[in-house]
């Protein structure tokens, strides 16, 4: 890989730019700019997802015959970069990036016909039922019970940290269908209708004041056996495949760049910046540049959607730290104005708007070293690779 984009890549990038200038509206950009939680609300993201789908660009990682784009790793990166820097809403990944590939790979023909077009059309909004109270980093210990009753499963238990369950009409869930054998062997993968009787969604208020995550309770909830993906007790294979897309297919640098830009613009607007803050800004820019190169190099070298291997842990760890460092600089730029983040005094100048999004983002950024495989888990994985190879070879 080198830095030179060939004419075909440049033409592709220009095509993406043209699409953005035609379809990305000021309301969408404003909605994304003010988003401090993980994902913009459906009211912001869904119109954008529909525009992408109309162009055939919503699900780059799917097999082509099911709606994928067939892009190379570099093309995918170019696309994500243009979208992030233009301020486009983040596509909600639960359907397109997480459950979609699982249904495409492990689903029956009937399931593919039923669910995949509804994901592309944004008719279904999915949430992820993995973590439970008591089963977080040790996912295989999950205990939500699915009892077989004729051609249905009956679910009893709860899921937690369920992002955007309050918007979702469907959940993909790991459930326990057996307590025999290894814990992984008794897990099945179900597609659950969130409107089914017996489901209760309770909001969990979090540190930044956003409503992102929920606890979801299941009380004798009936799910058709026909909505199980893969065989009974074979859900772990689906989960591992899904996590490969969750961990390996994320592209972080462009969204981090958009975040750094928001902070840099606030610094430009503000009074003269003290030297130590300017030095921090330069150090952060240098760090993000290096991280971006590491990520582009990695993405360009793999089949899109497949895990890049242990280096995925490095990317996850560094992206979460960079997110935190940029957010920290952001609230330092605000100074005491940060304390007025919740004051609604009708003032809508750039500083007040910046405070309203930056302070929750700073608070929320602490969660990035916890979810999706905590920092300590990533360090374990990296240490294992370094010790096995006695060096950096396994990561580079």
């Amino acid at each position: 890989v080198n830095l030179h984009l060939d004419p075909a890549d440049l033409a592709f990038r220009d095509e993406v730019r043209a699409f953005l200038s035609e379809h990305l509206t000021p309301a969408m950009r404003e909605g994304q700019w003010m988003t401090s939680g993980s994902y913009p609300d459906p009211a912001i993201a869904v119109p954008w997802q529909r525009a992408l789908n109309a162009r055939g660009w919503l699900a780059p990682l799917w097999p082509r015959e099911l709606g994928g784009t067939g892009w190379s790793g570099l093309q995918r990166y170019l696309f994500e970069n243009e979208c992030a820097l233009a301020g486009a809403p983040t596509v909600h990944p639960m359907g397109v990036r997480f459950v979609g590939p699982v249904i495409a790979r492990f689903g029956t023909d009937e399931q593919r016909r039923c669910f995949l077009p509804r994901i592309l059309a944004s008719e279904d909004y999915w949430c992820q039922g993995f973590s439970e109270p008591g089963s977080g980093s040790d996912l295989a210990s999950l205990s939500l019970q699915a009892r077989r009753d004729g051609d249905h499963y009956v679910l009893q238990g709860s899921k937690t940290w369920t992002t955007n369950a309050h918007f979702a009409n469907r959940m993909f869930a790991l459930v326990r269908t057996s307590r025999e054998g290894r814990p992984q062997e008794g897990i099945s993968f179900l597609l659950v209708d969130m409107a089914a009787p017996g489901i209760t969604v309770r909001p969990i208020r979090t540190i930044g004041g956003d409503h992102d995550v929920n606890q979801v309770f299941f009380d004798e909830v009936r799910v058709p056996v026909a909505h199980r993906v893969g065989g009974e007790g074979e859900g772990w294979a689906c989960a591992k495949y899904l996590l490969e897309f969750e961990r390996g297919a994320g592209i972080f640098a462009p969204r981090l760049r958009a975040q750094l830009r928001r902070v840099g613009e606030a610094m430009r607007r503000g009074a003269l910046q003290p030297p130590d803050r300017l030095a921090r800004f330069a150090a952060l820019t240098g760090a993000l540049d290096a991280f971006e190169w590491l990520e582009v190099r990695t993405m360009a070298a793999i089949v899109p959607g497949r895990s890049p291997g242990p280096v995925a842990s490095v990317l996850k760890l560094r992206s979460s730290r960079l997110k935190q460092d940029i957010a920290q600089l952001g609230i330092d730029v605000l100074g005491e104005a940060a304390l007025r983040w919740r004051v609604d005094d009708g003032i809508d100048d750039p500083l007040a708007r910046f405070a309203r999004v930056m302070v929750p983002e700073y608070c929320n950024s602490r969660a990035y070293t916890i979810f999706g495989g905590a920092l300590e888990i990533q360090l374990n994985l990296i240490a294992r690779t370094v010790l096995a190879d006695a060096g950096l070879r396994g990561l580079a």
């Binding site: 290096a290 971006e292 490095v314 950096l392």
Partner: protein
């Protein structure tokens, strides 16, 4: 202890990527001073973690001349001091980045002009 080792690996990897990128960009870069200052900031931060963790991992042997750890620590410190520490180079680099707006664009995918 393993986590310290992993942190060192991560720092080394990103610092090396930063150097590689800077070398590639230097061919076409108009403002080499700012590019060098930003890269130096990243590498010096990595050197700090690697040098100090290396000593800590070795315990008292880490500060003895018998192992290569002690000279490596001094060498990394000398690198950080030479031509200016990040705290000395950073303010001007930060001001220039803000002025020309380059921080807001991809460091990798921008078209060469």
């Amino acid at each position: 202890v393993q986590h310290k080792l992993a942190e060192m690996a991560v720092e080394s990897l990103e610092a090396r990527a930063g150097c590689e990128l800077a070398a590639l960009r230097s061919e076409h870069e108009a403002d080499l001073t700012t590019l060098a200052a930003c890269t130096k900031s990243r590498v010096a931060a990595a050197a700090d973690v690697v040098g100090k963790h290396a000593i800590q991992l070795h315990g008292a042997m880490g500060v003895c001349e018998e192992l290569p750890v002690a000279p490596a620590f001094r060498w990394l410190e000398a690198f950080a001091i030479q031509s200016g520490r990040p705290s000395q180079l950073g303010p001007q680099a930060g001001a220039r980045l803000l002025a020309d707006g380059r921080f807001a664009r991809s460091a990798v995918l921008e078209e060469r002009t």
